[in-house]
Point group: C2
Chain length 182, copies 2
């Protein structure tokens, strides 16, 4: 079943990353790097008030992971489990190959000026379409306590890790998590 | 500009709410109520591993806020500012009338069984299409410290507030925030 409407692109990310394999896998672990959303001029008034927030969600369309050729596999090996070659259900991962290739990035708002949003926390390649910006609201978006985070609780995640860094070297077999996940 | 792909519906929410005006405005302030996502059987293997997480993001298509008639206004009066009749840029609100009517709900996973996800934290009407489920990962999704949340920092938000409760009574003019926001 399809949604009976087309997604509109509200803007485009201009980042310093051209290749997926060398782009950090999540904004939340690459908080120092900055990039820009160039919002379509038609929508720039929609940014009014955003500068008052420290953080926002960027909802992006991960256009470099097209689904024209059919749906991606339901179980996949996430970047962070490449060392183990362990697979997980797509909806238990933040993998970009999804039924709908939507990205969800927590970014810090640095500056809002006209139709431009400068942000810190970059996990998308240059040219990625933005389909929504939502303010981060602690009351809505922060669970109480210290929630269980499934398999993520058992991997270590280096700051600004990229798929290339997380690849299994071809001359080394998958080993234990403690040795292999960087 | 449009995204050159159609959104797939991965499942449907079955909730106890039929009307928008009496549906709580955010999952995060209605954490006790439960509902269900009935995932399409074709995608049920994608849920493997989700039960290990306490929380997830539901990305929904707010089908009762269609955009066929053209884009919604760039500045709107959010439910929580109805008392003041103060408007905000769409991208500084969590309002459902957006260029792309995407919902982002933080829900607590209660049970995953077959193609069914029981969750707590309900802010959508029965029949709402789900277009993605992503696990909540503290390392990715929790900003450090106590971030500024713009105009939300100046409103009080009652648990399970609904648009109907936040409406300005017709016999009462908009008044100050302290008196009026419920």
């Amino acid at each position: 079943m399809k949604v009976d409407a087309a997604l509109q692109v509200i803007g485009v990310v201009r980042s310093g990353h051209a290749e997926l394999e060398t782009t950090p896998i999540q904004a939340g672990i690459n908080r120092a790097e900055q990039a820009v959303v160039e919002v379509d001029e038609a929508y720039s008034d929609g940014l009014d008030g955003l500068a008052g927030f420290d953080y926002a969600w960027l909802v992006t369309w991960l256009h470099r992971h097209p689904t024209f050729a059919g749906p991606p596999p339901m179980r996949q090996v996430p970047f962070l489990l490449r060392g183990q070659q362990r697979s997980m259900g797509m909806f238990a991962t933040r993998a970009p190959r999804r039924i709908n290739p939507l990205g969800l990035s927590l970014v810090r708002i640095v500056e809002v000026s006209g139709a431009t949003v400068v942000f810190a926390g970059v996990d998308v390649v240059d040219g990625t379409p933005v389909i929504d910006i939502k303010p981060y609201v602690t009351r809505f978006d922060r669970p109480a306590g210290d929630p269980k985070c499934g398999w993520f609780d058992h991997v270590s995640i280096d700051e600004a890790a990229t798929p290339a860094q997380l690849a299994v070297p071809p001359d080394r077999p998958p080993a234990s998590l403690a040795e292999d996940i960087r």
